[in-house]
């Protein structure tokens, strides 16, 4: 009997104009969304490849250990095509610095070159699917009871020897049967598009994720079907029913998500990133006075013969005198541990900032649990590895890697070695200034005295010391460092199994809501007055 009622509903729906329009809507919206997301993903991949190549090149080209600042470039998640989550709001690369720990991702955000385009939101599959199937769930169920009551066929139906529960279950199954093809079509369409795009490769774990989202979307749809039924049972006329359900739809899908985030911003206050940076600079002031103290005791003679400087105390010297090299070495030996200590100190400030951000995110998430569509999209972002939590896991790994790297440096006493700042072998260091002048001027000036004379004669010109190239003094002549023993970071991907415990809460909430709703539907239908 259940089957017969379901079949009747199914065939009635299948022939209706409603079904045709719903199908067209899906056929229009889903491909457009997938194509937009795919385009986005492709540009992310392009940025990733460029960044990765650059990072590898930079690391391989390092001639000294102070140039070893690995940049971890995280590949875009293929599943981000389905759900972007927050992955597009942070950069995809992390530079490992000794002087500062990683807070959040850096580099180009979004994979888009034009920052102005950020004001155009781009929706993803999960959102569009949530909008569509909730809408369809409501539209196909709002007149299931009130419609038949208005026609007078409900009385007729119940005059047959069937139980009410059979009718209800039959009707629900019928709606499900008519919506399932649309839902399945949405997935098939998007997977087909992705299948024919060359840059997208899903792993087995990714497929598992898609499957889980697929199952979850059925529950999500069922929730809205039940909601539509409940409204239909409670409302007198079917049109009042649909309008009320549509208000609920508007509220759940478009109003509440915004309210939840907006409210969390009011409830949990965070500071500006610039303020954190100001605080970090203040913290560094102390460190810089210590640096001055160290340099006061050291005397840098002829500091820069041929040298490169850069951020995070990168320094590369060649061709300097032995005593300069020694001073430099002693400076690094004393100063680098101080910088490491200050990185830990600064991390206290950074962590307070990060904790606040996390607290705000958590608040927003909990408030948004009042909307089933938000639960669904959170679930999607967790499964796709694009949620705030999964992003944080990556940054945490980067911080751990920094620790490993620091340990490697400390254990091998690299800070105290010449290799930290010069590619030149210790045995080839020059001992005197005269020697240096002699080589640089092709022997025209034998010593410093002659150089000073030459300078005076030529109106302060120092051209003479550029006469001959001092081979040992040219950084480009040195081969890159052998970094094969360096610890390597290889935890770029998030495993799907790690996200399963995360979605436990979302699943429980959505299932509980669904069961409560189902119980309410059942009760309302038993009490339903068919007259």
């Amino acid at each position: 009997m259940i089957w017969r009622i379901a079949k009747k509903e199914f065939s009635l729906n299948l022939l209706s104009r409603k079904f045709a329009i719903a199908l067209v809507l899906c056929l229009l919206l889903i491909p457009v969304t997938i194509i937009v997301s795919l385009d986005n993903y492709n540009s992310l991949v392009r940025t990733y490849q460029i960044d990765k190549e650059r990072a590898d090149k930079e690391l391989k080209a390092a001639r000294v250990y102070s140039a070893v600042k690995p940049i971890l470039v995280f590949p875009p998640q293929p599943l981000s095509i389905f759900c972007q989550g927050v992955s597009n709001q942070m950069g995809h690369s992390v530079k490992i610095r000794l002087g500062e720990k990683t807070l959040l991702g850096e580099g180009s955000v979004n994979g888009r070159d034009n920052p102005l385009l950020m004001s155009f939101f781009s929706i993803d599959f999960i959102h569009v699917l949530a909008i569509l199937i909730s809408l369809l769930g409501l539209i196909f169920s709002f007149d299931l009871f009130s419609g038949e009551k208005e026609n007078g066929t409900f009385k007729l139906l119940l005059s047959n020897p069937v139980k009410r529960s059979t009718v209800i279950i039959g009707k629900i199954v019928g709606v499900f049967l008519s919506l399932a093809p649309i839902l399945i079509l949405c997935y098939i369409l998007s997977i087909l598009i992705l299948f024919f795009s060359p840059k997208v490769h899903f792993s087995i774990a990714d497929w598992l994720g898609i499957l889980t989202i697929f199952v979850a979307s059925f529950f999500f749809m069922a929730f809205f079907v039940a909601l539509g039924l409940l409204v239909s049972l409670k409302s007198r006329s079917s049109f009042n029913g649909i309008v009320v359900s549509l208000f609920l739809w508007l509220w759940f899908l478009f109003v509440w998500p915004n309210i939840s985030v907006y409210a969390s911003q009011s409830l949990v206050r965070t500071e500006m990133l610039d303020q954190l940076q100001q605080a970090l600079r203040n913290c560094e002031k102390d460190m810089l006075t210590k640096k001055e103290e160290i340099t006061k005791n050291l005397h840098f003679y002829n500091v820069c013969w041929n040298c490169n400087d850069g951020e995070d105390e990168y320094r590369e010297v060649a061709g300097s005198l032995r005593r300069t090299m020694e001073e430099q070495r002693r400076f690094k030996e004393q100063y680098e541990p101080i910088r490491l200590a200050y990185a830990d100190k600064k991390w206290q400030l950074q962590r307070a900032y990060l904790d606040n951000l996390n607290k705000q995110e958590r608040t927003a998430r909990y408030i948004s649990f009042f909307s089933p569509s938000e639960i669904f999209s959170h679930l999607g972002s967790m499964l796709c590895g694009t949620s705030a939590i999964s992003q944080q896991i990556l940054y945490e790994r980067a911080r751990n890697y920094r620790e490993t790297l620091v340990n490697y440096f400390v254990q091998n006493k690299i800070f105290a070695s010449y290799k930290y700042f010069t590619p030149q072998a210790e045995s080839t260091f020059l001992n005197t200034w005269d020697e240096q002048i002699n080589i640089a001027s092709c022997g025209e000036c034998k010593n410093g005295k002659e150089f000073e004379e030459w300078k005076r004669k030529h109106g302060g010109s120092i051209d003479i010391i550029y006469r001959c190239l001092y081979k040992d003094g040219i950084l480009e002549n040195y081969p890159p460092l052998n970094i094969s023993a360096l610890p390597i970071f290889n935890q770029y991907s998030l495993s799907i199994t790690s996200s399963f415990p995360l979605i436990l809460m979302e699943t429980t909430v959505i299932l509980t809501l669904f069961l409560i709703l189902l119980a309410m539907v059942y009760k309302a239908s038993i009490l339903y007055d068919v007259r």
């Binding site: 937009v36 385009d39 102005l116 990133l273």
Partner: protein
């Protein structure tokens, strides 16, 4: 003769009947509650948010001024060459619309020699949060009223057709235009009265909480907002009537209406990026970077050896001049490439935005920028303002430098060097950029443009709806 005399009163009767029906309708009552709640809740959140933001920004800005003061007190060259960030602060009329400012460039980098670029800093944004819209007046219009005006109108023709009351109505001496107009104006009246009430409540809360001083600017913006809201609601409700006249089944006209709403508020705004990339491609940033690096190498190679020589004890050393000219050359070269690139980016943005104007929802969102003086218009204003300011700043610095006999006056845009004056300077004498409000004339053309476009849309849709309605079979 007689019928003509009756006409106005028929319209009045129809209008009263429709309005009465709308007011008594459950959907309007629910809508009324939603709208008013959102106005109230949104205003309270907005007040809290604005206070927080202003407070945070003021703290940041005073620290920034402090840093500048310190720079000025130690060395005027370092003050001039230091890269400075201009960050846009919160606006005082953000309760009307935030104009998606959190996703707009709000950071401009400059020093005395150049304005280097801009970025979407969104420094007060939490990157861990999902992107969202703030609950303000324009959000209520864009999301809630747009759907409501469709929901109130989708069955006003098809529903009457189903109930056969339309045929009855036409049997009276009344023209079809009047029926259509009566339906349209009554929905408008009901909705706009609600919006008006919401606006008044919101303003009252703001004034009572001491967050708002009603000056000419604010009153003007509010009045403009209301007129645009009226235009927007008229457009959306005429679209609803159009959907209604296209089908004899209100079930189907509902789906038409919702499909259109989805296209206008989801599909069109969200596919802009795709169009931007495909129709107006720009150079990739890494290509531009490579071009700059290549040019840098060329320029550096063209200068003689010793160009990087530096000796702080000897300002007049001839090598310093070489370095200063070289750096100036590099800066000019960068400026040429980057300014052209930025122009490309802005063109891409403006053109792809022009495409999304086909959606009334996007169009209304953009018109908010002209009304409140925020969003992209504000960025544009600041971008140009900073260029003017940078000229002044450089002139001031050059004049100050010229007074110092110990300085060789070799201007170097990047290095904190001894080739220009190293004397400290009184901070009060240094020109500081402050943001000015957009002038009326800057906004007026935009306002006229958006209003004109909305009116054209209204006219087109009304015309189609009218033709359809007049020709329709009422049976």
């Amino acid at each position: 003769m007689k019928t003509e005399k009756i006409k106005p009163s028929v319209f009045k009767d129809l209008f009263i009947k429709e309005t009465h029906l709308n007011l008594m309708n459950l959907r309007f009552q629910v809508a009324f509650i939603i709208i008013i709640t959102m106005f109230v809740v949104g205003t309270f959140f907005n007040i809290k948010e604005t206070i927080d933001k202003r407070d945070t920004y003021n703290k940041y800005y005073s620290q920034w001024l402090e840093d500048m003061k310190q720079q000025a007190g130690s060395n005027s060259t370092s003050l001039a060459v230091l890269y400075k960030n201009f960050i846009q602060g919160p606006r005082n009329n953000s309760f009307i619309s935030d104009c998606k400012e959190r996703f707009m460039p709000d950071l401009i980098v400059y020093n005395a020699y150049n304005v280097y670029g801009f970025d979407v800093k969104s420094s007060s944004n939490n990157p861990l949060l999902n992107s969202f819209d703030e609950i303000n007046w324009s959000f209520i219009l864009i999301t809630v009223i747009s759907l409501l005006s469709l929901l109130l109108t989708f069955d006003s023709i098809s529903g009457e057709r189903e109930a056969h009351t339309l045929a009855l109505c036409f049997s009276n001496p009344v023209s079809r235009v009047q029926v259509l107009l009566a339906k349209w104006t009554s929905v408008l009246t009901v909705l706009m009265a609600t919006v008006m009430l919401g606006i008044i409540i919101s303003l009252l809360i703001l004034v009572l909480k001491g967050q708002l001083v009603l000056n000419n600017n604010i009153v003007g913006s509010v009045a403009l907002f209301f007129s645009f809201a009226l235009l927007f609601t008229s457009l959306m409700s005429i679209i609803g009537l159009l959907c209604s006249s296209f089908s004899s089944n209100s079930n189907v006209s509902l789906l038409y209406a919702i499909s259109l709403w989805l296209i206008f508020s989801i599909v069109v705004p969200n596919t802009a990026v795709l169009w931007a990339d495909k129709m107006y491609p720009v150079k990739y940033s890494n290509v531009v970077d490579e071009e700059i690096t290549r040019k840098h190498k060329e320029i550096i190679d063209s200068y003689p050896n010793g160009k990087f020589f530096s000796d702080r004890s000897e300002p007049f050393h001839p090598y310093h001049k070489i370095r200063a000219t070289m750096k100036m050359d590099l800066m000019r070269n960068d400026k040429m490439i980057i300014d052209a690139y930025i122009q490309d980016l802005r063109n891409q943005f403006e053109k792809s935005r022009a495409i999304t104007n086909i959606s009334p929802v996007s169009l209304f969102g953009y018109s908010m920028e002209a009304i409140t003086g925020g969003g992209y218009l504000r960025f544009q204003h600041n971008w140009e303002g900073l260029h003017t300011y940078q000229d002044q700043f450089l002139k001031w610095f050059k004049a100050y430098d010229a007074k110092d006999p110990k300085s060789p006056h070799w201007h170097n845009p990047w290095d904190n060097d001894v080739t220009t004056t190293t004397k400290p300077v009184k901070f009060e004498e240094v020109p500081i950029y402050t943001e000015t409000l957009l002038s009326g004339s800057e906004r007026f053309t935009k306002i006229a443009f958006y209003a004109g476009l909305l009116m054209i849309y209204i006219f087109i849709f009304f015309y189609i709806c009218f033709i359809k309605f007049v020709k329709s079979d009422v049976r």
